[in-house]
């Protein structure tokens, strides 16, 4: 589990690279990974949507004891962001020091390295959020 398994991260690249997600046609619940059944209303049809790339910061913390594979990046910031459509997303925050963060500040999606495998050296990329550049 501490390795990057290529089929696993490849399978979900659309969400991780560009916030492509699935919205329940009936109740509007947003699912990051394509579901068969809506967890909220149990409807079975979904439309593919691109989530908004901007939102506001609700909370953040700093990971000081990282999981295996993230050692060289620690300490890093994990934030909770409410996107403009109301979807909440947990994300690493990039290009920012904790002192610069303020609850409610505008954030935007950016594309970063998440980590690389220690043995095979495959690189996993994905979204992180940074303070919006206006």
């Amino acid at each position: 589990m501490f390795r990057i398994k290529v089929p696993r991260f490849w399978r979900y690249r659309e969400f991780r690279y560009r916030l492509s997600a699935w919205k329940c046609i009936h109740c509007g619940e947003v699912h990051f990974f394509k579901p068969l059944v809506c967890r909220r209303c149990r409807y079975r049809e979904f439309s593919e949507v691109t989530l908004p790339y901007t939102g506001k910061l609700l909370a953040y913390t700093i990971v000081r004891s990282p999981p295996a594979g993230f050692e060289e990046y620690a300490p890093y910031i994990i934030g909770l962001i409410e996107l403009e459509d109301g979807t909440r997303i947990v994300s690493q925050l990039a290009d920012v020091d904790p002192e610069e963060l303020k609850i409610g500040m505008k954030m935007e999606a950016t594309f970063k390295r998440i980590r690389e495998d220690g043995v095979d050296k495959i690189i996993a990329y994905g979204y992180k959020f940074r303070p919006a550049i206006q």
Binding site: M1, I62, V63, A68, E71, Y76, L80, V90, Q92
Partner: protein
């Protein structure tokens, strides 16, 4: 439907057991439970473990434990529900007794975290979260707790000093407890001066790497009357919720725990006021506080008042985590749910030694998987 009784308990000390293997730990606890019940064998074995497949790369714990106990031949298997795996094994065992298919069942919980490096354990503890989502981005169990913690303090305007009283309470109760990992007192300033694990969460508001195993013997009505060991009656209920708390409507509320609590109280035919002892799942201080609120023992944003007023101490109106809870007794992941119920059993059978709570006739244990994606609520009643 048969009633379910706890007829024996076995605990190992929560510690870093360098010389002892996972198999040895769970066997030791199981043997103690069998001996406590005065039984040689059971009809089935259920083992709860969260991390053994990752850290020891050992699955198939049912057959493994049966063999260690010299009981190969009987049905045995493992049950998994993240940090609630131990409670899950109780749930399955209790249901089997209730159904009447088994007269006596051994349920055990075990984890041995010291076999992993710190980073490995941090990773492993995320199996209870959504790996492809929060696990992938490097979020940790504690960082998700920290986000909830920040939101909580902001919404309810409660300071960290109030919430950080929870670990202080736990350590007060662990003093002199033989099976506790940290049997000593700490001060609030010790908590507040401990380093951040993930702001605002400090090290002393979390649990440490721990090894431990606990086991119970569950029996039905027929056996209960035959066995001489002290017994309590057990009711267990469970509920689930979305795995990632932030996809829920309110991340500061544990609906699964609320639901399981209501169901368990109904089945036990008691009200909250009648709960004399409570075991709260304090994997972090903030989880303890939200648990007290979600299960209806405090109103929203007010759980800190119970701490401040001393109501949760051994002499208070609702003695809580009477052997130190996850924080001070220790939190060997999948074993914890069994420890909690075993400790209630010791209390209600008057074997809690210096931590004995007088007059209690009913106890509740809350065991959570992940950030309350799974909740088990067990109610034990004294058998008069």
């Amino acid at each position: 439907m048969s009633r379910v009784y706890v007829a024996g308990v076995g605990l190992t000390k929560v510690d870093e057991h360098w010389k002892t293997s996972l198999e040895q730990l769970v066997t030791e606890a199981s043997l103690k439970a069998l001996d406590d019940a005065g039984l040689e064998s059971v009809d089935a074995i259920y083992v709860g473990s969260m991390l053994s497949e990752i850290l020891q790369e050992q699955g198939h714990l049912g057959a493994v434990l049966a063999e260690e106990l010299g009981l190969s031949g009987i049905p045995a298997m493992s049950v998994e529900a993240a940090t609630a795996s131990g409670a899950a094994s109780i749930y399955v065992g209790a249901r089997e007794i209730e159904s009447g298919r088994a007269k006596a069942v051994l349920v055990a919980g075990v984890d041995k975290m010291s076999d992993g490096m710190a980073e490995e354990v941090t990773s492993a503890l995320m199996v209870g979260e959504k790996q492809e989502y929060t696990g992938f981005i490097g979020a940790t169990f504690y960082s998700l707790n920290a986000l909830i913690y920040s939101l909580y303090m902001k919404r309810y305007d409660v300071s960290q000093e109030k919430i950080a009283l929870f670990p202080v309470l736990c350590h007060e109760h662990s003093v002199g407890v033989e099976h506790a990992q940290y049997p000593f007192k700490i001060k609030l300033e010790t908590v507040m001066n401990s380093p951040y694990i993930a702001e605002p969460l400090r090290r002393f508001e979390t649990t440490a790497i721990a090894d431990g195993a606990a086991a119970l013997i569950l029996v039905g009505e027929e056996f209960a009357s035959k066995l001489k060991s002290p017994k309590t009656e057990l009711v267990i209920e469970a509920a689930t919720d979305y795995v990632t708390p932030f996809q829920r409507e309110d991340p500061l509320w544990f609906p699964a725990l609320q639901l399981a609590t209501t169901k368990a109280l109904e089945r036990a035919k008691i009200s909250r006021n009648e709960v004399g002892i409570i075991e709260i799942f304090d994997a972090t201080s903030i989880m303890a506080v939200i648990s007290l609120e979600s299960s209806g023992f405090a109103s929203r944003g007010e759980a800190w008042r119970l701490l401040e007023n001393g109501e949760l101490s051994l002499s208070g109106s609702l003695p809580c985590n009477t052997f130190g809870g996850l924080k001070a007794r220790g939190h060997p992941a999948g074993a914890t749910g069994v420890y909690q119920v075993a400790e209630l059993h010791l209390q209600l059978t008057n074997r809690a030694k210096k931590n004995q709570v007088d007059r209690a006739i009913t106890g509740m244990a809350q065991t959570l998987g992940g950030l309350a994606s799974t909740a088990f609520v067990t109610i034990l009643k004294k058998v008069m």
